[in-house]
Symmetry: C2
Amino acid sequence: MDNLPKCGANYVPLTPLTFLTRASNSYANRTSIIYANIRFNWRETHERCCRLASSLRSLDIVKNDVVSVLAPNVPAMLEMHFAVPMAGAVLNAINTRLDARNVALILKHSEAKIFFIDYEYIDKAKKAIEILMSDFQMPMPLVVVIDDLDSPTGIRFGELEYEQLVFQGNPEYVLENIDDEWDPITLSYTSGTTSEPKGVVYSHRGAFLSTLSLILGWEMGTEPVYLWSLPMFHCNGWTFTWGIAARGGTNVCIRNTTAQEIYSNIALHKVTHMCAAPIVLNIILEAKPHEQRQITTPVQVLVGGAPPPAPLLEKIERVGFHVVHAYGLTEATGPALVCEWQAKWNKLPWEEQARLKARQGLGILTLADVDVKNFKNIGKCAS
Amino acid sequence: MDNLPKCGANYVPLTPLTFLTRASNSYANRTSIIYANIRFNWRETHERCCRLASSLRSLDIVKNDVVSVLAPNVPAMLEMHFAVPMAGAVLNAINTRLDARNVALILKHSEAKIFFIDYEYIDKAKKAIEILMSDFQMPMPLVVVIDDLDSPTGIRFGELEYEQLVFQGNPEYVLENIDDEWDPITLSYTSGTTSEPKGVVYSHRGAFLSTLSLILGWEMGTEPVYLWSLPMFHCNGWTFTWGIAARGGTNVCIRNTTAQEIYSNIALHKVTHMCAAPIVLNIILEAKPHEQRQITTPVQVLVGGAPPPAPLLEKIERVGFHVVHAYGLTEATGPALVCEWQAKWNKLPWEEQARLKARQGLGILTLADVDVKNFKNIGKCAS
């Protein structure tokens, strides 16, 4: 048939920003964010992101400008994953564990126009900006301090503050049109273990597809209550910064990944899901008796990085955490291989189950190809 | 940042064909298809599709040629959803309930090069071909008969037979490269209730995205056992022709959607999921005592079309079927709105739950926009 019509002329671009619009329409009154005594619902989160995006525009942020942020897993960090691209800009979430020199290197390489700094990291940020200006001869970026939302400290660095930008913004802001789904949405840097940090750009399309793939790979149902133990600066929290909106879930934000914060938030908010590096499993297991709480419904934990040893897996399952293991890297939008559990494995002895869990066999649905020995294809713009 | 790299130059196209490749790699030994006494695993299904695709190429099928099929939910129908596009062609699955004249109209409009006919529909197909040649002055398409795989009848029409094409094909066939994800994968026709049937083209990209969205919207986990009660010719079985491969599940094929076939297959193969028009719910409820079986684990049923009345929903839940209601249309790759259940509704009285179930409120994740009053946007090439 020669005259088959071709779709795509007026196509709607793939972008995770639609997850927020949809959440604010479909799950308006569901809790979107919990942080200490703070609660937002999805309508409010959408409105706060519109306000922040419009404020960024009035600060002269234009398409493809980079906005950097140095912050723990506080609500502002989550909101910026939507608000920054809603302003047409690219979010650069910086690893808070880097030293001032590496932070400076990232600010230089990314040519950050605005630098959002959580009040706890002002000292490190100040040093980084000094290095940026003196060693690298770069101009100082515009600085915005993120004060604590639950217990404001009043600590400032420069004149701008996050809540003030949200307050001043336009709640009716209409987001910058995305005319190309391959446009960048975030810029992340590898941890730089072998050389200087390396920049990795995610597109709107890649972020959209990886988000759906990870929800599918992990079999995350609707209305998850997700605990933010994995840093959001780590591959955008393995895409769950966007994924919880896609599922109409609740983001439980915590400032510190301590045993006490983890246990008390799980018990208080009935957490269903969390992601973690293997070290977090140790933190949980080494909790002091007064920090522990009884976990009544198993928490689904997606563990990345090196495979956790079988004895550790066995112990953590016994205190109420159901582990799924994943492997990935910054260049592949985070986890690219997930150990999809097979029902027949339930009949195996426990040691064998733990051995199988420590593998991470299956490429996620949108990964084009992977070679576990060489990783030659894993960095491809597969999605 | 002006020098942000742009992804997409060497992009991997989105196509549901990758679900089959992935299934044959990742779930090689899992059962892919059950039909009466026939069993295939995903490795075999992949091989059979490669064979059929290569045979189609040797029958001079080239890119964008249309291959039509008139068949019930037998294994061949499922395999063709992969094999036909693997040959670069476009699958046109024809509603078996249409009369010969409407079948002829579709063969004419689609310019079908090959016409696959299940042995049960040879009479209707013969009449349609007569109309095609006499009334429409079109040449006769190449005909392939699909004999029953479990109990071959030997009934033929022309020289070609489905299993013979599979047998003769090359198991090492490398699929036609998809250079554009907007290329057509299937061509379906609306039922033509108000006028002549209307053709709707799905792209590889649209099929891929709709498949993932429906898995997500329905919260279908891995390893589903899916009963083919919904005709595959109906919007490609609401994309589950591809979706069961994506989930590493099992397709339970049945020739007739009778109470006996439904009940016995559910009991025998531990069916977890099925899609259905509301009429199928009536078929189940009106089963004679000797046709019924005890359903021990609830079967998830996605029901489309007009909202089922609340008393019907209540009855069907009581015999072991858990209903989720969806609404869509051929122009929107099948279901576009799914009634996503909210946990808080579990606490409501049963009548109220049934009322909520009969709604179909939420756009699926890849639907760009929808206006329930006007449907003005629903036909867009959203994905």
